[in-house]
């Protein structure tokens, strides 16, 4: 039985060109010449193209924003992405608003031209970069997954597909460890910049990238956003402490407090000044802070 066709969507962030700041007025100008996708977005595009080739489907590149999003889609066209969709939304909007606009379009995704009609959303993989060119929060893929009720795995260092059409992902966790994940479709993943290197555009595609047709979508007025809790200061992880030994509470608390071990405790004494000085010098000598100096030599 043939596997059901799949959709592969590459979410790419708008490009950021060279910034020039007017030293007198402070006005910021952006020069798009030489602008490029972030390394994470390039890796996402390459991963999406590779998955699409393995599954015999094609990639749809999706970007939200203003003119800089169009430039990002032109760069995607250069590597052979055939379907380019631009969601017209203010780039300065919150991550939840941008994600809602993207998810609204993905939810009504029409099958790509080369696929058979009737492709269901549940066979969809959305690949995004872990960071955009402006190193934002990286939260848009998470909100997109929430709106689509899809599996999500963010910040991946490796991604591959199995024979059973599941995704195998490797993700960083704390202390240099790695975590293996198995994802079922639909899934939203974000990849780091080092995952893959974007293929070189074919010469014909590079020449034609500026003339490729880009679908423009104006999202409807946003409805409900993902509920956000209040931010809290990060709390350190709890330390794992082994339980004390002992059969009952009294033995356990004796073990915890160390009362059965030899302890050096402070003692309160009442002495005359000369006797107190002798006592202090004697104790310092016991602790190894130099020899006891005989009072006759002072």
């Amino acid at each position: 039985m043939n596997a059901p066709p799949k959709n592969v969507v590459a979410l790419i962030a708008p490009v950021v060109g060279r910034l020039r700041v007017d030293p007198l007025g402070g006005e910021v100008q952006q020069d798009d010449r030489g602008a490029r996708l972030s390394l994470a977005d390039e890796a996402a595009l390459e991963v999406a193209c590779t998955l699409a080739e393995n599954w015999g489907t094609s990639v749809c590149a999706l970007s939200a924003g203003g003119e800089h999003a169009l430039r990002a889609l032109e760069l995607a066209a250069g590597v052979g992405v055939e379907r380019l969709v631009h969601v017209d939304v203010d780039e300065r909007s919150s991550a939840t608003h941008i994600a809602h606009s993207l998810a609204s379009w993905i939810a009504q995704l029409q099958p790509c031209v080369q696929l058979q009609p009737g492709v269901q959303l549940q066979n969809c993989v959305i690949v995004a970069g872990a960071h955009g060119a402006d190193f934002g929060s990286g939260a848009v893929p998470a909100f997109v997954a929430h709106h689509l009720n899809a599996s999500q795995a963010l910040g991946l260092v490796a991604l591959s597909a199995t024979a059973t059409d599941e995704l195998l992902a490797v993700r960083r966790v704390d202390h240099g460890a790695r975590e293996r994940l198995s994802l079922s479709l639909p899934a939203v993943v974000s990849v780091e910049g080092g995952v893959a290197r974007l293929r070189r555009p074919a010469f014909a595609n590079a020449l034609a990238q500026r003339t490729r047709a880009i679908e423009r979508v104006v999202p409807a007025a946003s409805g409900g956003h993902a509920a956000m809790g209040t931010a809290r200061a990060p709390r350190p992880r709890p330390h794992v402490v082994a339980p004390p030994e002992g059969g009952d509470a009294l033995h356990r608390i004796r073990a915890l407090t160390g009362v059965d071990q030899v302890q050096s405790v402070a003692r309160s004494v009442s002495l005359a000044p000369d006797e107190a000085a002798d006592a202090i010098l004697d104790r310092l000598g016991e602790w190894g802070y130099g020899p006891r100096v005989a009072t006759e030599t002072l």
């Binding site: 202390h175 240099g176 460890a177 790695r178 330390h239 794992v240 509470a249 009294l250 608390i253 004796r254 407090t257 160390g258 009362v259 302890q263 405790v265 402070a266 003692r267 309160s268 004494v269 009442s270």
Partner: protein, 102 residues
Amino acid sequence: MTKRAPIEYQAVSFQTRMETVEFRVGERAHITVDGDACNGCTTQACVTACPANLFVPRSDGGIVFNYEQCFECGTCYMLCNTEGAITWTYPDGGNGVVFRQA
């Protein structure tokens, strides 16, 4: 996949830890220690066990106790093996330890 060793707990000095704890001192001493009953004690476990270092041994074998910075943990009462030496109650309402301001 190799595992890393767990992070060593960074010990905090006693003074630093006590600076983060607030105490509302009541008028009534909620714990009283009969110093004379402690004269015959050979272990003086309360001195070692008290996390707030409130028990100070005297040179004549008795114990001096100050209730103001008590954590109300009950360890002294559990460990004391001299009947009647420690009278343990909770502070009056609204008083006592207010834990770490962090």
